[in-house]
Amino acid sequence: MKNQFKILILALVFIIFVIIFYSALGTNNKNNTQVMVSKKLPRIELTSLYEEEKKISFPKINHKDYYIINIWASWCVPCRDEHPFLMKLANENKVKIFGINYKDSKMNALTFLKELGNPFYDIGIDSNGQNSIELGAYGVPETYLIDDKGIIILKHVGPINKDMYQKIVDKIK
C-alpha cells in the first residue's frame, strides 16, 4: 500500500513536470514586438518639420477617426519600399498619416518627399530618437495604427508590404 502511494506521488510529479514543460514549448521566449499593442499611445511632443515654432503632440485628443503614425527617414532604404503603400493609404483610404522623421536632416527629408510624394498629414522631427523610444520603437520604418480612443491597435516593425497594407485597410474600414 505504502509503495503504491509512493509510485502514485512520483507519477503525479512526473505528469506535472511534463505538463509544465510541454506548455512552455508553446510560449514565446523571444522578443515580442507587440508589447505596445492595446496600450494607450504614450504622450509625446515633436517639433514640426515645416515650422520650428509649431509643435505636434500625440495622442490626438478627441480625434474621431483612426490615424497612423509612421516613423521614417530619408536615409532608410526600406522606407522607400513602403512609401507607395503609405501614398495609397493616404490617397485611396483617406486615413490621416502623421510622420515622425527619425534622425534625419530637414533638407534630405524634404527632398525625399518631393521625389516620392508626401502621404503625411503632418510631420514631426525626432532628431535624437528619444521620442521613438517613448513609443517603443526599435528603429525605422515602423508603423502604428491608433484608434479613436488613442489606443494602439496595430504595430508593424519594418516596411509595410502588401499583406500589412491589407491588414491596415481592414482595420480602418
Binding site: 510529479v13 513536470f17 510560449t27 522578443n31 515580442n32 505596445m36 496600450k39
Partner: protein
C-alpha cells in the same frame, strides 16, 4: 585651507560622478540590446543601444529608481529586454522547480542513508 577645500570639492564630486556611472553600467549590463545578437546595452554601440543609454542616464539624473527604469523599459519592450526574468505567475516555476528538485534530492538521500543504516544494524 583653500587647497584643502579644493581637494575636498574635487574628491566629493568625482566620487559622486563615479557612483552614478557605476549604477548606469550595472543597469546597462542587465538590459538586452534588442537589435543585436545576444549583447547587453553595455556591450553594444548600436543606435538603439545608444538611444536607450541616453534615456537611462536621463532617468538616473531625474532620481528615478532602478525599479522605475526597468518598468519603463518593460512597459515598452516587454520582459525580453531584461536578462533576469522577473518573478511572475508565468515565470514562477522557473524559480521554484530547482528548489523543489533540491528538496526532493535531499529527501531521497536522507531515506537512502536511513535505509542503509537500518540494514547494517
Amino acid at each position: 585651507m583653500k587647497l584643502f577645500a579644493y581637494i575636498f570639492f574635487l574628491i566629493f564630486f568625482t566620487q559622486s560622478a563615479i557612483s552614478s556611472s557605476d549604477r548606469e553600467i550595472e543597469i546597462y549590463k542587465n538590459i538586452r540590446c534588442l537589435v543585436c545578437q545576444g549583447q547587453s546595452l553595455n556591450d553594444s554601440n548600436s543606435d538603439f543601444a545608444n538611444d536607450l543609454k541616453k534615456i537611462i542616464k536621463d532617468k538616473i539624473d531625474q532620481n528615478e529608481t532602478d525599479k522605475q527604469i526597468y518598468k519603463y523599459l518593460v512597459d515598452r519592450f516587454g520582459d525580453w529586454i531584461l536578462f533576469d526574468p522577473p518573478v511572475k505567475i508565468t515565470t514562477v516555476f522557473l524559480w521554484i522547480i530547482p528548489l523543489l528538485v533540491l528538496i526532493l534530492g535531499f529527501y531521497v538521500l536522507y531515506k537512502k542513508v536511513n535505509f542503509i543504516k537500518n540494514r547494517d544494524d
